[in-house]
C-alpha cells in the first residue's frame, strides 16, 4: 500500500471530488483505516475542501453573468451590414485569400508593365510602336493630303468663282442675236471678248466642261447671221478653202483662171513647189464676187478630186458702221478744228495745240478710211484659197536598202569583249554609242551601236560574232523607195549604212540550253558534296550556287547548281551515278531551231540535291526538347513576372516608406505627449 500512501494527495483530492473508481476508492479507504497519517490528511483535506467550497462560492460568477457577457458583447461588437460582413467573411476563406494574393501579384505585375511601358508579349510590344508610327505617318500624310486637297479645293473654288465672274451670262448673247439685228456685232464682240478671256482661262485652268461649252457658245452668234434676215445691207466677208488632188497642176491652174474670169473674179496669187517625188504642189488664191462663190466652188469640183472644202462667212456689219460713224464724227471734228484755226485763236500756243489735235484727228480719219476700204474690198470679193496637189502616179526614182542588225552576245569577260569591239573603230566602222553598265551585284552588261559602211558590214559582224557566244542575231532590211511608191523596174538600188546594235552580257546570264535537276540520296551528304564539286571541276563545270541545310528531322540537304558545256554533260551525268542513288531526274531542253549557237559549247545547267534520310522523330519535337522548352519558357515567364512585380514594388516602396515613416513619427509624438501627460498627472498625484 506504499503507492497509495505516496499518492495520498492525489487520491485524497480525487476522492473528495468523487473521481475515484470503485476499486480505487476501496483501496484508498482501506489504506485510511491502516494509516493514521493519511487519515489525518484526509480529515484536513475534507476541511480544506469545505473551506474552498465556501470561499469560492463567494467568488464565482453571479447568475446574471452570462447575460451581462452577451449584452456587453453586443455593445462592443455592433452588427455590421450584410455586404461588409459578407466581404469580411469571404476574406476568411482560404481560397479567397489565395485569389486575392494572386490578384495583388497580378496587379503588381500589371503595374510594373505599365511603368516600364512594356506589353504583355514582346511581339506586341514590337508591333505597337510600328503601328503607332504608321498611324502617325498616316495621319501626317492624311493631314498633308487634306491640307493640299483643301488647298486645291479652295483653289478650285476661287477658280470657279473667277470663271463665274468672268463669264457673262451665256444665254444672253444668242437671245439678243435672235431678237434684234442691230446689236448683233456687239454681242459678237462680246462673244469674242469672252472667247479671249476664256481662252486665257482655258490655258490656265482648263476645266474641261467650260472648254467644251465654249466653242458652241462662241459659234452660235456666228451661225445666226446666215440664217437671220436678208444679206442685202449687210457687210459679209466670205472665204472658202478647198484642197484638190489633180493630175496636172498647170492644167488645173489654167482651168481655175478661166473659171475665175467667168465668175467675174481673178486669180490673186499662185505658188507651187516641186516635191521629192517630182510632183507639184501649190496654192492658188482666187477672188470672185461673193454672189458667184457658190457657183465657182461647184465648178472647181470638176477639176479633180476634192479632198476638203470649207466655207466661212464673217459678218462685219457692226464694225463697219461703227467705223463709219466714228469717221463721220472725226470729220466733223476736223472741220471744227479747221474753223478754230481760221477764226478763233490768236495765241500761238493754242494754235499749236489745235494743229496737233488736228493732226491726230486726221490720222484717225485716215486709219478709219483704210479700215473701211479694207472691209469693202473684203466684202466685195470672196477669197477662195485652193490647194492643189498632183496625184502620185510616177515610178520611184531609186531604192535604198537600209539594214539594221541586232546582235546579242554572251561574253565571259564583258569588259574585255567590249574593248575589243571598240577597237574595231575605223572610218568605215563608226561607233555611235558605247555604254557599259555595272551594278552593285557585279553584273556587267554593255551596249554598243555601230554604223558600218555597207561593204564592210558583213566582215565586221562576223568578227564580232567570233568574239563571244551569240545569243541572238537579227537582221532587218528595209527597202525604202525614193519618190513614188510604185514598183520601179529601172530604179537602182543602193545600200545604205548598216546599223549594228550589240548587247553584251555575262555568259552567266545565258539561259541554259538544257536544264537538269536531280536528287542523290546518300548518308554522307557532306563528303558526297565535296566529291561532286571535284567531278564538276573535272568536267569543266562551274558551280553557280550551293547551299547546305539541315532540317529539324536531322535530314541534311545540300544543293549544288552548276553549269557545264553541253559536250561534257553526258560524262558528268555518268560520274554522278557513283555518288549515290540518283533520283528524280528531270531534264528540260530548250531547242532553238535555226539558231546559230554553237551547241557543244552551249551551257547546260545541272541542279543537284544531295540529301540524307532524316530521323523518325525530329530533335525539335522530341520529348526532351519539349520538356526543355516548356521549362525554359515557364522560367522566363516567371522571371518576367518577378521583374514586373519588382518594378511595381520599386515604384510603390518609396511611398509606402514615406507613409510608414510619417505614421511612426506621429505615433512617437502622440506617445511622447501621453507620457508627458501621465508623468504630469503622477506628479500632481504625488503632491
Amino acid at each position: 500500500m506504499a503507492t497509495t500512501h505516496e499518492q495520498i494527495d492525489e487520491l485524497l483530492a480525487a476522492d473528495l471530488h468523487d473521481e475515484l473508481t470503485a476499486t480505487e476508492r476501496d483501496e484508498f479507504h482501506a489504506h485510511l483505516v491502516e494509516c493514521a497519517e493519511c487519515r489525518q490528511a484526509f480529515q484536513e483535506g475534507k476541511n480544506m475542501n469545505r473551506i474552498l467550497n465556501e470561499t469560492m462560492a463567494d467568488k464565482k460568477a453571479d447568475p446574471a453573468f452570462e447575460q451581462r457577457m452577451v449584452s456587453r458583447f453586443r455593445d462592443r461588437v455592433p452588427k455590421r451590414s450584410g455586404l461588409i460582413s459578407l466581404i469580411t467573411d469571404l476574406m476568411r476563406v482560404r481560397a479567397v485569400q489565395l485569389t486575392a494574393v494572386a490578384a495583388i501579384l497580378l496587379a503588381l505585375a500589371q503595374m510594373g508593365k505599365i511603368i516600364t511601358g512594356e506589353s504583355a508579349t514582346p511581339k506586341e510590344g514590337r508591333e505597337n510602336p510600328m503601328i503607332m508610327s504608321e498611324f502617325d505617318s498616316n495621319r501626317n500624310k492624311a493631314g498633308g493630303d487634306q491640307v493640299s486637297s483643301s488647298l486645291a479645293k479652295t483653289d478650285g473654288r476661287t477658280k470657279a468663282a473667277d470663271a463665274v465672274e468672268e463669264e457673262p451670262p451665256p444665254p444672253a448673247p444668242p437671245l439678243d442675236a435672235v431678237t434684234s439685228t442691230a446689236p448683233k456685232p456687239q454681242t459678237e464682240r462680246a462673244a469674242g471678248l469672252t472667247k479671249t478671256k476664256k481662252a486665257e482661262f482655258k490655258d490656265e485652268k482648263a476645266p474641261t466642261s467650260v472648254a467644251e461649252s465654249q466653242p458652241e457658245f462662241a459659234e452660235s452668234p456666228q451661225a445666226t447671221p446666215a440664217s437671220v434676215g436678208p444679206t442685202a445691207n449687210r457687210k459679209l466677208i466670205r472665204n472658202a478653202t478647198a484642197e484638190l488632188e489633180v493630175v496636172s497642176f498647170d492644167e488645173s491652174i489654167q482651168k481655175i483662171t478661166a473659171f475665175a474670169s467667168e465668175e467675174k473674179g481673178y486669180v490673186a496669187t499662185t505658188s507651187s513647189e516641186k516635191q521629192e517625188n517630182g510632183k507639184l504642189r501649190g496654192e492658188i488664191v482666187v477672188k470672185v464676187l461673193p454672189d458667184n462663190l457658190d457657183r465657182f466652188l461647184g465648178k472647181l469640183r470638176g477639176i479633180g478630186e476634192l479632198k476638203n472644202q470649207a466655207l466661212t462667212t464673217e459678218d462685219v456689219t457692226k464694225a463697219y458702221f461703227d467705223t463709219e460713224s466714228r469717221l463721220k464724227n472725226a470729220r466733223l471734228m476736223e472741220q471744227r478744228l479747221i474753223e478754230i484755226l481760221k477764226t478763233k485763236s490768236k495765241d500761238v500756243a493754242d494754235l499749236l495745240e489745235v494743229e496737233k489735235e488736228l493732226g491726230r484727228v486726221r490720222e484717225q480719219i485716215e486709219t478709219m478710211q483704210g479700215e473701211l476700204k479694207f472691209m469693202d474690198s473684203q466684202v466685195a470679193f470672196a477669197t477662195v484659197t485652193i490647194t492643189l496637189a498632183e496625184k502620185n502616179m510616177n515610178l520611184p526614182a531609186a531604192f535604198l536598202l537600209k539594214e539594221k542588225a541586232q546582235l546579242s552576245l554572251y561574253a565571259t569577260e564583258v569588259e574585255k569583249t567590249y574593248n575589243e569591239i571598240k577597237a574595231l573603230a575605223s572610218p568605215k566602222v563608226q561607233i555611235t554609242t558605247a555604254q557599259i553598265d555595272r551594278d552593285n551585284t557585279g553584273r556587267v552588261s554593255a551596249r554598243l551601236s555601230l554604223l558600218l559602211a555597207p561593204e564592210e558590214s558583213e566582215a565586221v559582224i562576223a568578227k564580232v560574232k567570233g568574239m563571244a557566244r551569240v545569243e541572238n542575231f537579227q537582221v532587218q532590211t528595209e527597202r525604202v523607195s525614193q519618190g513614188g511608191d510604185g514598183l520601179g523596174e529601172n530604179a537602182k538600188t543602193e545600200r545604205d549604212k548598216v546599223e549594228l546594235n550589240i548587247t553584251l552580257s555575262r555568259d552567266e546570264q545565258e539561259t541554259a540550253l538544257q536544264q537538269t535537276s536531280l536528287q542523290i540520296r546518300t548518308p554522307e551528304v557532306n563528303d558526297k558534296t565535296k566529291q561532286l564539286r571535284a567531278i564538276a571541276e573535272q568536267q569543266g563545270g562551274r558551280i553557280r550556287s550551293s547551299s547546305f541545310s539541315r532540317d529539324t528531322n536531322g535530314r541534311e540537304y545540300s544543293t549544288v547548281s552548276l553549269r557545264v558545256p553541253m559536250k561534257n554533260y553526258n560524262a558528268l551525268m555518268q560520274s554522278l551515278n557513283g555518288l549515290g542513288k540518283v533520283e528524280n531526274v528531270s531534264v528540260r531542253r530548250d531547242d532553238r531551231p535555226n539558231s546559230q549557237i554553237d551547241e557543244s559549247n552551249a551551257p547546260a545547267d545541272v541542279s543537284i540535291q544531295v540529301y540524307s534520310q532524316g530521323n523518325i522523330v525530329s530533335e525539335e519535337t522530341g520529348l526532351w526538347a519539349t520538356l526543355r522548352r516548356t521549362i525554359g519558357q515557364g522560367a522566363s515567364a516567371l522571371m518576367w513576372s518577378v521583374r514586373m512585380i519588382g518594378v511595381a514594388v520599386a515604384f510603390l516602396a518609396p511611398w509606402a516608406l514615406i507613409v510608414g515613416v510619417v505614421g511612426w513619427v506621429a505615433r512617437r509624438v502622440s506617445r511622447a505627449r501621453a507620457a508627458r501627460k501621465q508623468s504630469a498627472e503622477e506628479e500632481a498625484g504625488r503632491r
Binding site: D9, A14, M48, T55, K60, E66, M69, F73
Partner: protein, 181 residues
C-alpha cells in the same frame, strides 16, 4: 465529449452566426471566468478578460479550423489575456497591497475574513495552472474530463495537478484547518 447539436452551434458561430456565437458565450463564459479568476484572483479583472476574450474571438473566429475545439480555443485566449494582464500588473507592489488589504479585512471581518485572506494568499502562491484547475473545479463543479479538455491537458493529468494543489493548500492552511477542525 461534444455531442452533435453543440458541434453545429460551434460551426455556425465560427461561420459568423451571431446568435450561435451568443449561445457559445452563454455556455462557456462561466468557465472562462473561472479560468481568468484563477489566473488573476480578481473578479472585475476576470470579467473584463472574459469580455475581451469574446470580442477578440469573434474577430478572429475564422482561425479556428476544427469547430469542435472552439471552447478549448476560447479558454486558451482567456488564459493568455489573463496572464498578460497579470504580467502588466506585476510592477505594482502586489504582495504589499495584498498584505495591507488582508490586514484591513482582518480587522473588519473577523475570523471569516481571516480565513478567507489566508486561503487567498495560499492560492496566490500556487502555480497558475493549479490555481486555474482549482477555480474551475470549485466554481463550476466540473468533472475532471471536462476540465482537462478545457485546459488542453492529457487524460488523467488533472488528478495529479489537483492533488498537488490541494496538498499544498492543506499544508499552508494547516493551522487554520486545525483550528476549524
Amino acid at each position: 465529449m461534444i455531442d452533435a447539436p453543440e458541434h453545429a452551434v460551434y460551426r455556425a458561430a465560427i461561420q459568423g452566426d451571431r446568435d450561435a456565437f451568443e449561445m457559445v458565450i452563454r455556455s462557456v463564459s462561466r468557465n472562462l471566468f473561472a479560468i481568468a479568476y484563477g489566473v488573476l484572483q480578481n473578479r472585475e479583472e476576470a470579467e473584463d478578460v472574459v469580455q475581451d476574450t469574446f470580442v477578440k474571438a469573434w474577430k478572429s473566429r475564422w482561425r479556428v479550423r476544427d469547430s469542435a475545439k472552439l471552447p478549448a480555443w476560447l479558454s486558451t485566449i482567456a488564459r493568455h489575456r489573463a496572464r498578460d494582464l497579470a504580467r502588466k500588473r506585476r510592477p505594482e507592489p502586489l504582495p504589499e497591497n495584498f498584505e495591507s488589504s488582508e490586514v484591513v479585512e482582518f480587522e473588519s471581518a473577523g475570523q471569516k475574513a481571516d480565513l478567507d485572506g489566508e486561503v487567498r494568499s495560499a492560492l496566490a502562491q500556487l502555480p497558475e495552472l493549479h490555481r486555474v484547475a482549482l477555480t474551475l473545479r470549485y466554481f463550476e463543479d466540473l468533472d475532471y474530463g471536462t476540465i482537462e479538455q478545457i485546459l488542453g491537458l492529457t487524460n488523467g493529468a488533472l488528478r495529479g495537478i489537483l492533488g498537488r494543489a490541494l496538498g499544498l493548500m492543506r499544508k499552508r492552511l494547516k493551522p487554520a484547518l486545525a483550528s476549524i477542525g
